[in-house]
């Protein structure tokens, strides 16, 4: 190879562009082609026919229902939690910090086993729930519990980091102007961290929607009650491939729609500023 310095500038530039082009094309194709393959593999007629399959409809409804509730719980409980966790120091704060991150590295199946051992019918706490006639395992509630366990770190870490990075001057000034803690939180802190919180919520939604291992372990696999879309895909691919493909495509469509919607919202926020 000729030394780079000896090559005329035009060739050097083209080489750079070539390398960049290959890189970008490679990454894009690696991500895009499998998604495209899903759509190509099943004919549109078969897709629309399978969409009416009762298993598909019940899995779709169940997934959306549980994931929305999970998201609502995580936001409503997680936001004040993250706020107080940041603004106050308390004994054991480091431990709590670590625990928030734990579900991220824990294999979902392990999370499922842990939930089962604790909340199952003969579980440490579960047996008391069972005694009072409130069994937890194998219910839709179990699906929501599993989703919250594995997906909440995405929102909590994001909220924590946002609240920590927010200049305390804003909240302090608001307080001196006479605003209560609640007013400060809702009128100052949250609007200023909104964009970041939304992206955290989106990640939580995506993770909860795709949750599989903990769900099948703790909640089981019962169509209409606990068979969420990922479980239905798994079972479908082992028997009724059309169902598996159809639900996969539905999941892709949902994910894309959410991402685009969030991008639009963020763009509009940025334009208004």
């Amino acid at each position: 190879m000729i030394s780079r310095r000896l090559l005329p500038k035009k060739y050097r530039r083209n080489l750079t562009y070539l390398a960049a082009g290959i890189l970008i094309a490679g990454v894009t194709l690696y991500l895009a082609l499998p998604i495209l393959a899903l759509f190509i593999r099943i004919s549109p007629d078969m897709f629309f026919e399978t969409v009416h399959d009762p298993n598909v409809i019940s899995a779709l409804w169940l997934s959306l229902f549980t994931t929305c509730i999970t998201l609502a719980v995580v936001i409503v409980v997680g936001t004040p939690f993250a706020y107080y966790h940041c603004r106050y120091s308390y004994p054991g704060k480091v431990v709590v910090d670590t625990l928030i991150d734990l579900p991220l590295v824990l294999p979902p199946a392990v999370a499922g086993v842990a939930l089962l051992v604790l909340y199952g019918r003969v579980g440490l706490l579960g047996k008391y729930f069972n005694m009072f006639g409130m069994p937890l395992a194998f219910t839709t509630l179990a699906v929501i519990m599993a989703q919250i366990f594995v997906a909440s770190p995405f929102y909590l870490r994001q909220a924590k980091s946002l609240f920590e990075q927010l200049d305390p001057a804003y909240e302090q000034t608001a307080r001196t102007l006479g605003a209560s803690s609640l007013r400060t939180l809702t009128l100052v802190t949250l609007p200023m961290t909104a964009t970041g919180l939304i992206s955290g919520a989106v990640m939580t939604f995506g993770r909860a929607l795709g949750e599989f291992g903990a769900t099948i372990m703790f909640a089981g696999n019962l169509p209409g009650v606990t068979q969420t879309m990922p479980l239905a895909v798994y079972v479908g691919m082992q028997g009724n491939i059309n169902v598996g493909l159809t639900i996969s495509i539905l999941l892709v469509i949902i994910s894309f729609t959410i991402m685009i919607a969030v991008r639009l919202i963020q763009k509009r926020e940025a334009e208004r500023a």
């Binding site: 200049d167 001057a169 804003y170 302090q172 000034t173 608001a174 307080r175 001196t176 102007l177 006479g178 605003a179 209560s180 007013r183 009128l187 100052v188 609007p191 200023m192 208004r272 500023a273």
Partner: protein
């Protein structure tokens, strides 16, 4: 009138200051970075707790450690302007100025009238609907001043308010501050490390060094040893 006696043990030294500021008087706190000036302001505002403190404002006791008396931040009626102005960037100028009044649940017509008045006085009326995040440094500082004064506080405190401004904005801000402090006859505490600020805006000055008041007197008579910055 503000009377404050504050003692707080900090990491490197103990903060131990006694301040008295008359109504309509601008008291300048000078000293090196880290000497405890900002901590003093935060304690008076109620954002920090002192080890022992007795703070009275216009005869009303804001804080007396001995009797476990401690008025919360939002009830102290103090206007506080910080170095970075801390205007709420997502709100309009009008909403910023109205913030304190709304927080205190004033009636709507009162709010409208006062907001218009202060925006006028600070020459920001034409920016009323602009998002505060889009303003220049000088404009932001005037908004912060209007916001602090609109609640008709009993004390105005400013922490390095002119450091980030250009010369012209600094002059405007200083003039406005002095004018309204005198007009409203409220005590005013200004923290700065620049000599020019001290002489132009202050009626009295004191030098804080490592948590202790080393000197107090007229700004013109400031001794040479005062560890201040003579720039600008």
């Amino acid at each position: 009138m503000l009377e404050a006696v504050i003692v707080k043990k900090l990491r490197d030294y103990t903060l131990d200051v006694t301040l008295t500021v008359q109504p309509g008087e601008v008291m300048v706190l000078m000293g090196m970075n880290g000497s405890g000036k900002s901590t003093t302001l935060n304690i008076i505002a109620g954002l920090l707790e002192a080890d022992t403190a007795t703070i009275t404002l216009n005869g009303e006791c804001l804080c007396r450690t001995g009797d476990d008396l401690d008025l919360p931040v939002e009830d102290r009626r103090i206007g506080y302007v910080l170095q970075n102005s801390a205007v709420f960037p997502h709100m309009s100028v009008r909403d910023n100025v109205a913030f304190g009044l709304r927080a205190r649940h004033k009636k709507r017509p009162v709010i409208t009238e006062r907001v218009a008045l202060w925006m006028d006085r600070m020459h920001i009326a034409d920016l009323a609907d602009v998002k505060a995040g889009n303003l220049s440094g000088g404009q932001k500082q005037r908004v912060a001043l209007a916001r602090a004064l609109a609640i008709e506080p009993h004390l105005l405190m400013m922490d390095e308010p002119f450091t980030a401004l250009d010369a012209e904005s600094t002059q405007t801000a200083k003039d406005l501050t002095r004018r309204f402090v005198k007009e409203m006859q409220i005590p005013c505490l200004v923290v700065t490390h620049r000599m020019a600020d001290c002489t132009e805006i202050g009626d009295r000055a004191c030098v804080i060094c490592e948590g202790r008041k080393e000197w107090e007197g007229c700004p013109d008579e400031m001794p040479e040893f005062a560890p201040v910055c003579h720039c600008a």
